[in-house]
């Protein structure tokens, strides 16, 4: 558990490492998904191709889109792309950099799925078993069948238990042939992807290094600025809420003082602090009333409303005061002295 936490902390400390971590997890999830998937070739002439190619190509598309969905920076990119220009110019190079780095990371899980699928071979065997070259691999002396009949027989190659064409072409020969083609395709695909990745990574410093440094700095900046703004807004909301609630309770306590004309008792000094904190609400009935009115009639989102007599902000609309509002504490003090 501790080991996991340390690895987690290391990955989180650096934003890029964190994204690489997510990438790695998705790649592992992709390989695990393939192992757990119960591949079931239909062994019917036209269904085989659809099923095989579907399993080969549809999950990578889903994983690619999932890679974008799980990436926090997608909304940042969309925001930066769609915002009005305002006082700050937009740099398309930054947008391109952000998009490229997200797309590269999202590509890894699909590439892993396609490679694992091809290297395993089941999909290609299922999809292309009807196209096996029977003339070269099969038994030449076997009486020829019609095209449809041949397709029907060959389509059963992936399903050993029901295969009935051993005299035409043995199951093992056909499977070995197709698996060899599939693995060759798989390794070529892996080689191609790795070469592409290598070229993209190594040609960049040769051509556009200065532009790259600029784009990278400003894309980090946009990310940090957004996070800091969210933090500042949260802090502001917290202070806002605190003052709002304080005013609500003060309003309640003012109301109570106005309704019940409480005589201020001579509270002993050491309990003064606690009494002040209770804001005048000292019994169950009063507390229930406070909670009910909080639910039914929340105060307006306006921290300095006009102070009408008896007003406690409950029913006030949030209009800016036309005359300076009298501070509340004075009202409370006035009433409590009656």
């Amino acid at each position: 558990m501790d080991k996991f936490r340390m690895i987690f902390q290391f990955l989180q400390s650096n934003q890029e490492s964190f994204m690489n971590g997510i990438c790695g997890i998705m790649a592992l999830a992709s390989a695990q998904m393939y192992s757990a998937f119960d591949f079931n070739c239909p062994c019917l002439p036209h269904y085989n191709l659809a099923y095989g190619l579907g399993i080969l190509l549809v999950p990578p598309l889903i994983l690619f889109l999932l890679g974008f969905v799980l990436n926090n920076n997608v909304s940042m990119l969309a925001e930066e792309w769609r915002r009005p220009q305002g006082q700050r110019g937009k740099d398309p190079a930054v947008l391109r950099y952000m998009f490229c780095s997200m797309a590269q990371r999202a590509m890894i899980a699909p590439v892993v799925w396609v490679s694992v699928t091809l290297l395993d071979g089941k999909c290609i065997i299922c999809a292309f078993c009807t196209s096996v070259p029977v003339q070269t691999l099969g038994n030449a002396s076997h009486p020829s069948l019609s095209q449809r009949e041949m397709e029907r027989v060959l389509a059963r190659i992936p399903c050993r238990e029901i295969y009935d064409g051993q005299e035409l072409i043995t199951n093992e020969v056909a499977t070995r042939y197709l698996r060899c083609i599939s693995q060759a395709l798989g390794w070529c695909f892996v080689l191609l992807m790795t070469t592409l990745a290598f070229l993209v990574r190594s040609l960049r410093p040769c051509f556009t290094q200065a532009a790259f440094l600029k784009s990278r700095y400003w894309s980090h900046y946009i990310d940090i600025e957004r996070k800091l703004f969210d933090e500042t807004c949260t802090e502001h909301a917290r202070s806002f809420a605190k003052v709002c609630i304080q005013q609500f309770f003060e309003g309640m306590s003012t109301d109570l003082a106005a309704t019940h004309c409480h005589q201020p008792r001579e509270a002993p000094t050491d309990a003064e602090e606690a009494a002040r904190k209770l804001l005048g609400i000292t019994d169950q009935g009063t507390m229930n009333m406070a909670l009910k009115s909080w639910h039914r009639c929340k105060p307006p989102l306006h921290l300095h409303p006009p102070a009408l007599p008896g007003s406690n902000g409950w029913a006030g609309a949030g209009q800016a005061p036309t005359h300076p509002p009298v501070p509340r504490r004075e009202i409370a003090a006035y009433y409590s002295r009656v």
Partner: protein, 305 residues
């Protein structure tokens, strides 16, 4: 747990150690990949050689490229090589040192794959089973040429119906595996002797130049890292100032509009933090302004105040 943490910190502290760690991981991944790969020889005359040699040589190329991609120092070296001279001279010895260290590390995983392949033997049996001399083996001596090639091509497939009861198949298989393992061990021995000699004899040649090259290559690496960290710190401070400036300008706008508020009003500490933004309208206005008119990327007005 403590030991793991120490090891982890040690690896992180030194970038050479990190690269050695990656190199080791790739080597282990190479062995694991070979074990989990389902080798299935096609057992057909022309396909065998292509498949066998393909499996022996294509994955090492992939592992080599992966070793180059995952190594951070290769980017550093390329940047150093391609940068404009500017005020700092370029030292080719440093670039050569970096290149050779990158190459050495990237070669480890491919070599391990090739050696494991040779010591296991399946690839060579598959690739060369139809190139052996049939006269050496009793079971194949009396068949026609075309048939013998077909038969030999099926040697790697033990379960094939023609090969199931063929005793000569095992002879061919053993013969090829023997060659394969001999080749594997020889390559391993040659490489280890070469590495041993290189490490022992290196101090005899140009030790001072080597130490300088190593020092400056470490320096370039560290300088890059610190530059990136400083940029991150800087953009954080920049963003902080920019946002503060934005909130203050909103506050000033509000003060201008509601200048009739008494100045000596007693304000709680919490309200200070609110910076004058005290109702829903103002908050909405602030958020709207943030979206529609982000402040310019210029905090010089703030710092000059």
């Amino acid at each position: 747990m403590d030991r793991f943490r120490m090891i982890f910190q040690y690896f992180q502290s030194n970038s050479e150690s990190v690269m050695n760690g990656i190199c080791g991981l790739l080597a282990l991944a190479s062995v694991k990949m070979y074990n989990s790969f389902d080798f299935s020889c096609p057992c057909l005359p022309q396909y065998n050689m292509a498949y066998g040699l393909g499996i022996m040589f294509v994955p090492p190329i992939v592992l080599f490229l992966c070793g180059l991609i995952l190594n951070r120092q290769s980017l550093v070296m390329l940047e150093e090589w391609r940068r404009p001279q500017g005020c700092r001279k370029k030292d080719l010895a440093v670039i050569r040192y970096m290149f050779s260290s990158i190459m050495q590390r990237a070669m480890v995983a491919p070599i391990i794959w090739i050696i494991v392949t040779l010591l296991d033997g399946k690839c060579l049996i598959c690739a060369f089973s139809d190139s052996v001399d049939p006269g050496k083996f009793a079971g194949f001596a009396n068949t026609s040429l075309v048939q013998v090639h077909q038969l030999l091509a099926k040697v790697p497939c033990k379960d094939d119906e023609l090969m199931r009861n063929n005793t000569a198949r095992k002879a061919v298989s053993r013969y090829l595996r023997c060659w394969s393992q001999a080749l594997g061990w020889s390559i391993l021995l040659i490489l280890i002797i070469a590495a041993f000699l290189a490490r022992w004899l290196r101090p005899c040649f140009n030790q001072a130049t080597l130490m300088q090259a190593r020092h400056w290559s470490n320096y370039i690496d560290i300088e890059q890292k610190i530059f990136e960290e400083t940029c991150c710190e800087h953009s954080r401070l920049f963003a902080h100032k920019c946002i503060l400036h934005f909130f203050e300008s909103m506050q000033q706008e509000i003060k201008l509009h509601s200048s009739s508020l008494p100045k000596e009003r007693e304000r709680a500490e919490e309200e200070d933090l609110l910076q004058g933004i005290t109702d829903q309208e103002k908050v909405n206005k602030l958020l709207r302004t943030w979206y529609y008119e982000k402040p310019p990327l210029d905090v010089s007005k703030v710092t000059q105040r």
